[in-house]
Each structure stands twice: as structure tokens, then as C-alpha cells.
Subunit: 227 residues, 2 copies
DNA sequence: GCCATAACGAGAGCACTGCTCTTGCTTTTC
DNA sequence: GAAAAGCAAGAGCAGTGCTCTCGTTATGGC
């Protein structure tokens, strides 16, 4: 009918509805959601879903990309908020990511937990996956350019060269040490949240987990040298 | 027949064989191993396995406990090796744990990855689960008793009180700050290994991951204040 | 406007899963 | 030696991912 085509529009809507229902199932069943159950909720035969997603893994991949983008949005928005210093920007980012994870633990587990067995992340995911670390690196780089970070000893060894290659993406003279520190802070962020979500904190810090998280993230910021 | 009973001995052997085969399947299929496939490999009907493990989750729980004990053994052995300083003991522990994880990623994912959906960790697991962090805390405490750790500002807030309660388990006057730092270092250890294993390091540090891991763990040791 | 083509939804079916129940058999216990 | 308890096997149930076939419906070239 129309230029866009009725079928194309219906297809897009259908795809979106399947993903929405799947996301709802993800929140209750985790990564082992049932494609058949999703199909039942959508109101179509399970075989019809395969017109939209080639396999259950393909459906999960779509959800993974959306999750990466959601956490990326969250992180970038929080970091762009006006804040006192660069350390505060990092802390705001960290708290925002943590709260996003607490609001939907299964979605967090989907992207930062153990990979689904037999699942191989396709190329499409690597772009959105890097948004949080890139934002952290951007904060660090900005602080460095502003002369806020004191110089320190540069690492040596082969990994330092690899860090230098990554650092080159940010500019001609970014010290590899800072990229290493940013990467380390990123992993501390993920590790701290995962530890809390996956129950590693039980029976030690149960009440003020937010406070302990901030304690850890302040350590990470100090490691980078953020003011 | 014998005092122990033939049946009891056969039962113990059978239980062990099922676990051994299951561990082998774990290495290839991950946490979604099939109880039926395990039964086939052992050479018995799937229903017979239920005489030994009440459910598939029960089997996994047994494997989880063994995995916690294995990594606990590894960590303790490495830390008890004679070393230059306390930082070296921590680094030895960290490298040993990392190598254990690299040797059997699925076993690592089983205990430090996202929890299997619907699976609730029973009480039996919390004992073995704490061995690594307790060993780290012991290293920190020993260094503190020996006067090797410089005093620093103590944290405030509710989480500090919770840390103090944990610190009391180690002695009357262990600063909560050190317990917090030890806990943070433990999560950095887990986070760094998980990040490497779950593919977060791809396309940034690919060659000298051991070197970058050491860089991170030196940061953690410095955060504690280990000499 | 017609019509071949492609997309689509539904149903049946395959091989698999965790788990239960029943049915015989063997070991232990009294 | 008999009763009781432990054990292995098979059938069966409800569920899974995925494939194939078969009518139906929208699309694009003529």
C-alpha cells in the first residue's frame, strides 16, 4: 500500500513486541527464557517467531544489544551531569550504572555475567559494549588534558604497548598508564556490582551497600588520580 | 558384610563417579549440562541418578562446593609459599587463582558467574565460598600486626559499622578500613578474572593479559597498603 | 489489473530435557 | 529366614528448540 509497505511496518512492530515480551520474561526467568513461552504470550505459534529471529540465541543477541545501549545511555547521561570535579563525574556514572543494574539484575547478568553456554557474541554487540568504558576513558582524558592528573610512572612490558595502542584512539599523547587505570576502574565497577548482585556480599555488608560501593569507587578514582 | 557395609561403599564410589563425569560435562557444556547425558556416560538410567542427587540443582550444588574448595586450596597454597613481602603473597595468590580459572573457565563461571536462574545457593556453599577472601584478609591482618601497614583515615557511615563487625572476627583491634580494602581487593580479583574470561578484554589487551592482570593487582595491593 | 513471488502464521513432528512413578531385584537388618 | 529398605530400569508426562509442510496474504513487475 504505502511507500513503506504495510508488511514492513507490521514486521517492525511485531519484532518490537516480541522483544518487549522477551524482556519481560527475562526479568523473571533470566537468560534461559523459553521462546515458546514468549510466543504464547505474544499470541502466536512458536514457529512463527522464527520468521523474526533465526534462533533463540538471535533473540538474546537483540536483547543484549539493547541492554548495552541502555546501560550506555545511563552512564553517559550521569557523567554529563554538571558535577564538582572529574572524580564526581566518575562517581555519578558508577552510581547510575549500579542503580540500573539493581533495577534489572537479569539484564545485567545477560551482558556482564557468565556467557550463555555455546553462545558466541556476534560482531554487532562489540560496538554498544564499549560505551561505558569509553565514557570513563573520556572523563579521564578530559581531566588529563586539563592538567588535573599528576604524572606518574608509566608501566612497562608488552601489555603497556597494547594499552598505548588503545590510548592512541583518544589522542596523540595520552599516557597508557591512564588507559590502564581507566580500564581497571571499569572492571572494578563491573566487579563490584556483579559481586553485590550475585550474592558475594551476603553476610558481610547487608545494609549500606551503596556506601560500601562508594568506598570502592572512590578507591578506583584515586587509583586513576582523579581530583 | 563389612562393618562399613558394601552398599555404603558402592554408593560413595557411585556418587563420586557421577560427580566426575558431571565435572567433565561441565567443562564442555557449562552449567546447562544434561543430567540424562551424564547418566548415559556413567552407564545407568537417568532415573537412577536421582537416587544419588535429588535434582539437577543438587548435582550442581555438589560441583559448586567442590569448585569453591578447589579454588580455596589453590589460593591458600599460593599464599603460604615463602615470598618477599606481604604484597608478594597477595600477588602469588592472585596469579594462582587466575591460572586456576583459566584452566577451567566453566568451573569459574559456576561459582563467580551469574547464578543459574531459579537456583538458590544452599547453606552448605557459604562456608567454602569464603575461603579466598578469608585468606586475603589473613594476609592483610598479618601485615597489620607486623606494623607494615601505615595507618590511614577510617571510613564513616553505616557500612563502616558492618565492616567493623566483620573485622571483629579477626581480632579485637583490626581497623575496619583494612577489611574494606581486603574485600575490595577480593572483588577486584574476581572482577579482573571474570572480565578476562567473559570476553570483556577482547580487542584491547589480547597478548599480555597476565601483565595487565598484575598491573591491576598491584593497584589493589597498593590500595590496601601492602608493602 | 493481473499474477507469480515472496513473506507469513499455524500445525505437526523430531529429538531432547528434568522429573516422577511403578515394577522387579538385591542387600541389609532383625 | 523373613521383613524392610535401598537400588536400577523403564515408561511416561510436560516442557524445550527447531524444522518442515501447507494454506493464506501482501508485494512488485508486467
Amino acid at each position: 500500500m504505502s511507500a513503506a509497505g504495510v508488511r514492513a511496518r507490521v514486521r517492525a512492530e511485531m519484532t518490537e513486541e516480541i522483544k518487549t515480551v522477551a524482556r519481560r520474561h527475562l526479568a523473571t526467568d533470566g537468560a534461559n527464557l523459553s521462546l515458546r513461552a514468549v510466543a504464547r504470550d505474544v499470541g502466536m505459534a512458536s514457529s512463527a517467531v522464527y520468521r523474526y529471529f533465526a534462533s533463540r540465541d538471535d533473540l538474546l543477541t537483540a536483547l543484549i544489544i539493547e541492554a548495552y545501549d541502555a546501560v550506555g545511555d545511563t552512564a553517559e547521561a550521569a557523567a554529563d551531569q554538571p558535577a564538582g570535579g572529574d572524580a564526581d563525574r566518575f562517581l555519578a556514572l558508577a552510581h547510575a550504572v549500579r542503580e540500573w543494574a539493581l533495577a534489572d539484575p537479569h539484564q545485567w547478568a545477560l551482558i556482564y555475567g557468565s556467557p550463555v553456554p555455546g553462545y558466541q557474541a556476534p560482531q554487532d554487540t562489540i560496538g554498544p559494549a564499549t560505551r561505558v568504558i569509553f565514557k570513563i576513558a573520556a572523563i579521564v582524558e578530559a581531566a588529563y588534558r586539563a592538567g588535573q592528573i599528576a604524572p606518574g610512572p608509566e608501566p612497562t612490558g608488552r601489555y603497556a604497548e597494547e594499552l598505548a595502542a588503545v590510548a592512541a584512539q583518544f589522542g596523540p599523547d595520552v599516557p597508557p598508564r591512564l588507559i590502564g587505570a581507566a580500564l581497571s576502574a571499569y572492571f572494578q565497577l563491573i566487579g563490584a556490582i556483579s559481586a553485590e548482585l550475585f550474592g558475594q556480599l551476603n553476610n558481610s555488608v547487608d545494609e549500606d551497600r551503596r556506601g560500601f560501593f562508594e568506598f570502592q569507587m572512590r578507591g578506583a578514582a584515586a587509583f586513576i588520580g582523579l581530583p
